[in-house]
Amino acid sequence: MAYQDTVAKLTYSTEARTVLSASMSNDRYETAGFSNSGTAGYVAGGYGTAYGSNQGLLQSIDKFTFSNDSRSTLSGVLTMGYSNTFGRFGCMGFANSGTAGYIAGGGYMPRTDVIDKITFSNDSKSTLSATLSDSTWDQGAGWENKNTAGYIGGGSSHAGDSDVIDKLTFSNESISTLTATLSIERERCAGLGNGGTY
């Protein structure tokens, strides 16, 4: 078993896969990814072998610039998780492309309900006053309806695996919970958004 710091790229027109020469700043798994389409993608948090004060749980946020597939690391970091000591893994990422990206939940024993925001214009980090309806980790999934709302569903809450779907309305950054639920509780699922024209 080996933690990975590499990034695989799938070119949509050919469905060919390559691996970037640039790697992440740390090896890590269960990171949260989100994108400012046409400009850059971001990965935040995760768990890796950087066993320091954060016990392997990372706060850092890497940025991959799409034009040249290069990597930089933001100065802003994720809000701490447990006891203000650890970073966060198993978070869920989504974005309002062109405006901001969001990293929700994750953590480590206990989970968190925090939603961090990266404003794309200056890559600054802030934390929303709104929170998830329950503290959640274990990789639920997030995706977005461009310019309208982001959706976060599944994962694992204190009560166990979750079938709950939360919705973050971008205009006022408020959280609501859908009446609809997943057909079954899903932790460690994947999210795909077919949500608008880019």
């Binding site: 790229k9 949509y12 798994y29 994108s35 389409s37 609809a180 899903r186 949500g195």
Partner: protein, 147 residues
């Protein structure tokens, strides 16, 4: 639905089909934008796919499934065309084995397939929600760990 009803001009073709095909052999198209929750784990790995129709925030489980029940995979989406999930784990109980393959969900018709490209030279799991997408151009999966 009786045949005589089918000829009534007010009867929608979709309603007639739904009443004659048991259990939906097809997936009704969303009325607008949609998002998907794919696979995952709940006691065992899952192969089902839930679709959220974002016009009315309703959930529908599509007819297509993943090739294998799996969890810990990551998704990228080329909005308007297709989404892809890669990596992940299967066969819990006899070891969590990382997957190599990349599965594709074509949004027009909600069909699934496996593309010829693979994620990397070794299987990876626990990729997490780590997908990034440059719409119309390329998608990216970061990290995970190999097995």
């Amino acid at each position: 639905m009786a045949e005589i009803e089918r000829i009534l001009p007010t009867t929608k073709v979709s309603e007639w089909l739904a009443s004659t095909i048991t259990g939906y052999a097809f997936s009704p198209a969303p009325s607008g934008n949609a998002g998907y929750f794919v696979g995952g784990y709940h006691g065992s790995n899952l192969d089902s796919i839930d679709r959220i129709d974002m016009d009315d925030d309703t959930r529908f489980t599509i007819a297509a499934t993943l090739t294998y029940p799996q969890s810990q995979h990551g998704g990228i989406s080329n909005s308007g065309v297709a989404g892809y999930v890669a990596g992940g784990a299967y066969n819990p109980g006899s070891g969590w084995t990382g997957r190599l393959d990349i599965q594709k969900l074509t949004y027009d018709g909600d069909t699934t397939s496996v593309i010829s490209a693979t994620l990397a030279n070794t299987g990876r799991r626990q990729i997490g929600d780590a997908g990034m997408s440059n719409q119309g151009t390329a998608g990216y999966w970061a990290g995970g760990y190999s097995t």
